[in-house]
Amino acid sequence: MTERTRIGTLFGAPGMYVSQPGDNLLAPTRPLLFDSRYDGFEIHAAGRVSMPMIDNTADLRTYSATVSYPNLGYIPQVTWAAIANGSSIIHYNSTVIEPTRGSIIAPTDAALDVGPSQLTYRPTIFGGSQVSLDLFYIIYRNPRVTPTYTPAGTERVFIGNDGGTFKMRVSKPGFHARFATRDQCLVHEESRKLIPVLTGVVGIPARPNMQTAPGRVSFYLGRAFSFPPKIVVTSGANSNVGVSLGLNDGLMELTNSVLAPVTARYVIYHPE
């Protein structure tokens, strides 16, 4: 039987470590399921707001929305997307809007300003008719720039009663679990972690040449989403894969911008 869980010192650092099911923690072949040397996504705020048109000059229409959230004291990581009313299609890490399947709006410009307590998104679209847009957003309790953590021999795991208060914590390197704040913990009794829900491996055709559209593959995930999930995609050493998802029908499309076919893994986390 392989060792999968270690609470103590491993890889030269005290903490908590868990390997993926079937993988040996002492000689792992796959990424760890839990690794207290590093961070994990935690939700701070999420929502959907209207993004009204604020300017229309010479057929250049600018839409804008600003959302506020409790001040984090640092610039957080975010997932965001503009979505046309009546559509449920989200394009990740892209300015593209898809009001109906196959009908693409590519803004000429898109300002994205993220601060400790508010986010502004401001796309500008040339031509066409006015559209009704919403902004989806998820704000994470994760700094855009990871702090430098210093592993130390502090108490990194505490589960139990501490002077009348229940605590269930795995602290980040250098922080004492019992006295750490929520942001100083990987696991905290108040945590709202992203939930891993789906993963898969698919092949994506090559882009025929740089003058044509990327290669693409689409497939149904077999479930709908009430909110845009966090999606991470990799095709290994050489990666340039785009992602879109229909929230209502679970139709996912992956695009490949390189001139050779690739195999890609996607993983999906949902703010359940």
């Binding site: 839990f34 502004t120 994760n142 891993p196 050493a237 990666s239 993983v267």
Partner: protein, 115 residues
């Protein structure tokens, strides 16, 4: 009071407030379950000022090639503007990317996800 930590038969479950940690608990009420098929690990994230051209960024060495996400931005009119997603070439300890025209800075994340 809910029993929020479960550790039996090689399985660890941590639950959200108000829910008993047990194998039958639906995932949305968990903070962690050692039977999940993949993890939620962010090895490092950052933001660096770079111009157009090829750049390499190092990260702590892993036993796999992790997933990398790079976004390029330019600064105009007092706002960062998204140029777009940038392709990467990665090893187990660094990644290389070519920033497009007008890039002023990139943000990046290295995830505990492998092909």
């Amino acid at each position: 009071m809910a029993q929020r930590f479960y550790a039996q038969s090689g399985r660890i479950i941590m639950s959200k407030p108000g829910y008993n940690a047990e194998p039958g608990l639906p995932d949305q009420f968990k903070i962690f379950d050692s039977e999940w098929a993949f993890g939620n690990v962010v090895i490092v994230s950052g933001s660096v000022s770079v111009g157009q051209g090829t750049h390499t960024i190092a990260f702590p060495a892993q036993h796999f090639i992790p997933a990398i996400e790079v976004l390029a931005f330019d600064n105009r009119n007092g706002f960062p503007h998204l140029i777009g997603r940038v392709g990467t070439t990665a090893t187990n300890s660094s990644f290389t990317f070519t920033a497009p025209n007008d890039t002023d800075f990139v943000t990046y994340s290295v995830y505990g996800v492998a092909l």
